[in-house]
């Protein structure tokens, strides 16, 4: 066990009135109640993270003790590995395609559902269903069968398979993600229902068209929710793994076109047994996702409107 650093925060006991139990004791009880979470976070998250940070500076093949190599994994990644860059390009392409499409579709469906009088619950569940199924391996396998040559799409459209053409495979995987728009849709729907109806009534009185209302009321009022969905889906898209793994049978093919970052990370770590290199890749990904999120937060100042701030 390495949870040796449990902070014992109470150092001063001077201010507590004598009638209450000492502050230290009360906080002690809090720590005991927190301990399942603290233990989980420390042993299952923080410790492995620290270990992987250490491993990223080593050459580690799972069997022999790790050898310290300094920054070699990082320099090899950035300067000597063409496949690494192919995986970066594939991942960025995927994020840029899948995230806007998914959010756009979620918003359109949420708007349609909002105006609906009857059967809302049914349609909401129906549109959400793919998100429940979608994370599973089986849907990804079905997807592969549908878009393979001799599959449903080939038979209907006569286009041949999609998953075995380098220009199409990534789009096919993105389509699988876009189809799972349930979670952002539900959040959008909740956000839409928060927008006060008076705003629309006032706009209608002033003669604003539906489109004008959408641009001037819905979008600004919904912008915090759009921002939330954007950040969440972007972070998830960077870490996409299961669909690409299943659709390309674990290879990231054809011709590395769906070799997403996590897929290549898995390949380096578990197929090629270069855990050090894989750890370096993981930490780079963490930093990149952190940076992208920071950029999103920075740009949000200019387009996200929080009603509670009042007029600025």
């Amino acid at each position: 066990m390495t949870t040796t650093q449990i902070p014992t925060p109470a150092r001063t006991q001077d201010v507590d009135p004598p009638t209450k139990p000492p502050r230290r004791q009360r906080e002690g009880a809090a720590w005991v109640f927190l301990s399942p979470w603290v233990l989980g976070a420390a042993v299952l998250t923080l410790l492995p993270m620290a270990v992987s940070l250490y491993l990223s500076f080593t050459d580690y093949d799972l069997f022999n003790p790790p050898q310290w190599v300094g920054l070699r994994n990082y320099t090899q990644m950035f300067t000597e590995d063409p496949r690494y860059w192919r995986s970066v390009v594939a991942t960025l392409t995927y994020v840029v395609i899948a995230v806007p499409l998914q959010l756009g579709l979620a918003l359109v469906v949420a708007l349609a559902l909002k105006g609906m009088r009857r059967g809302k619950g049914f349609y909401r569940s129906a549109f959400y269903a793919p998100s429940l199924l979608g994370a599973s391996m089986s849907i990804a396998l079905v997807w592969r069968a549908i878009f393979n040559d001799g599959g449903t799409v080939d038979n209907l459209l006569g286009t041949g398979g999609w998953v075995n053409k380098p220009g199409w495979a990534l789009f096919t995987v993105a389509l699988l993600t876009v189809w799972q728009f349930g979670a952002p849709m539900v959040i959008f729907l909740a956000g839409l229902q928060q927008i006060p109806a008076e705003l629309y009534e006032a706009a209608a009185v002033d003669g604003a068209s539906r489109w004008r209302q959408f641009l001037s009321i819905t979008v600004p009022m919904l912008s915090p929710v759009i921002f939330f969905n954007l950040v969440l889906q972007t972070i998830q898209a960077f870490q996409v793994f299961t669909p690409a793994f299943a659709v390309s049978a674990g290879k990231g093919g054809p011709a590395d076109s769906t070799l997403f970052y996590t897929l290549y990370l898995y390949d380096r770590g578990f197929v090629a047994s270069h855990m050090g290199y894989a750890s370096a890749m993981a930490w780079t990904l963490l930093l990149v996702i952190g940076a992208v999120t920071a950029v999103l937060f920075r740009t949000s100042r200019s387009w996200v409107f929080y009603a509670s701030e009042g007029d600025r």
Binding site: E27, A249, G250, K251
Partner: protein, 443 residues
């Protein structure tokens, strides 16, 4: 965290030191309890009630192999009442990854099936037991010395080959004959093969065969025909970018002519016969190992035949008898003797051999091979008859490939994808491969 292992446990345990406070003590006590519950229950002791020894035995393979293996294991348990064997199996890729994770965690099964490519890595990583020390229960006297040596690393016997296989060109018998071609004979050359592919494509309108450019195995056979090898004795690359460029130029030209399968077909290969062009009915032939070729039987209704691999132009054969799989014992098994007994039974027992047949390739044990020959049925017999004419005519197998080879096999396929999708020229892709392979072998 698994404790109490003989192997170096990593990360090293640290001793708890903390400020003496009641809170911390309580938390630590909780930790300790949780750790005892979660991690330390598995101490490697597997003796269950009644004094029976329990062993874990794992392998990869199809359901047919699993059924036959289980039957043999049941017989073993009957003959050794004190030993109980828990079996499990999976497909090759998941098996490989699961075993690697188990082995790294110090939790390798007592008896495991190993591939040629795993031996070097596991033996040098301290995962495998030196079976030479178990001679009292594990006999190897009936084994071909050449094949037995393939399980040795640094002179120690870490794994014993179970079966032997050799590469073959599988073809759809009816379509091959309908195109007016003679069945290929031993000694036919790569030029003859290419002509046959073109002829088939012209007569049937389908590619004559699966593009062998993606296959490291096929490349190795082509290379060995020219007296070269994939790896040198000191585990460096045994060929140059020029060699690989010639091979890929040869196959790429055939692909452009339509004589072998298109990139869209070839890229779907995933190790299962179901997803091969021959299995899908989009090509007439392809190269594969002889034992898994049984899988084509249900996929090619007209029937299949096995042909020898093409030779070099001067007639030198490139194919060889490869130990198709090995049995090894975990170094940290609690029961080395019982584990060795199970290995001995699977390899040397006459009754077990009859049950297992050729589901792991033709047995390496020579006496057993001769004894079961007359009993072999169906496809087992096909494989036996296919291998028989090669006896004594093939060159010795290469030594166990270096540990990086497992990853390089995939790299090879991926780099050829770049050629067949016409994104890189054969020379560019070959140079990429050499760079990647050197980096892989260096680490």
């Amino acid at each position: 965290m698994p404790g109490n292992r003989t192997r170096k446990s990593w990360p090293p345990r640290r001793t708890a030191k903390s400020r003496p406070s009641r809170t911390a003590a309580a938390v630590l006590a909780l930790c300790a309890t949780a750790a005892a519950l979660a991690g330390c229950s598995d101490t490697g002791e597997s003796t269950s009630a009644g004094g029976t020894v329990s062993l874990r035995y794992t392998w990869w393979g199809n359901p047919d192999r699993a059924a036959r293996t289980q039957e043999a294991v049941d017989l073993f348990e009957k003959k050794h009442p004190g030993i109980e064997v828990q079996t499990s199996f999976a497909g090759y890729e998941p098996y490989k990854q699961k075993l690697a994770t188990q082995a790294a965690g110090g939790d390798a099964p007592d008896v495991m099936q190993l591939d040629y490519r795993m031996i070097d890595q596991y033996a040098s990583g301290g995962v495998l037991l030196d079976l030479g020390k178990q001679r009292s229960v594990l006999k190897t006297t009936e084994f071909e010395p050449g094949l037995l040596a393939t399980g040795k690393v640094d002179g120690k016997l870490y794994a014993i080959p179970q079966g032997r296989g050799t590469e073959t060109m599988v073809y759809d018998t009816t379509k091959w004959k309908a195109a007016g071609l003679e069945p290929p004979k031993q000694g036919w050359t790569w030029t003859d093969w290419a002509d046959a592919m073109r002829e088939l494509a012209a007569k049937t309108g389908k590619p004559g065969g699966t593009d062998p450019g993606q296959s490291e195995d096929a490349f190795e056979i082509w290379l060995r025909g020219q007296g070269k090898s994939l790896y040198t004795k000191d585990n460096q690359l045994g060929f140059t970018a020029a060699d690989l460029t010639r091979w890929w130029t040869f196959t790429d030209k055939l692909r452009r002519e339509g004589a072998v399968s298109s990139a869209e077909q070839t890229t779907q290969l995933d190790g299962s016969v179901e997803n091969t062009p021959l299995g899908r009915g989009t090509a007439i032939s392809e190269t594969n190992w002889d034992a898994p070729a049984s899988g084509y039987l249900v996929l090619v209704p007209d029937g299949i035949s096995l042909a020898p691999m093409p030779s070099n132009e001067d007639g030198t054969p490139g194919q060889y008898f490869k130990p198709s799989m090995f049995m090894g014992v975990a170094a940290d098994t609690g029961h080395p003797k019982e584990s060795a007994q199970l290995v001995d039974f699977m390899l040397n027992d006459r009754e077990a051999a009859k049950i297992v047949g050729a589901s792991r390739g033709i047995p390496v044990n020579e006496s057993i091979r001769d004894e079961i020959a007359s009993d072999l049925k169906d496809f087992d017999k096909t494989i036996y008859d296919y291998q028989a004419p090669f006896e004594g005519k093939l060159n010795a197998p290469p030594q166990a490939p270096p540990s990086g080879d497992s990853a390089l096999q995939t790299t090879f396929q991926r780099d050829y994808d770049q050629v067949s999708y016409e994104r890189l020229s054969p020379r560019e892709a070959a140079e990429n491969y050499i760079t990647e392979a050197k980096a892989e072998l260096r680490s």
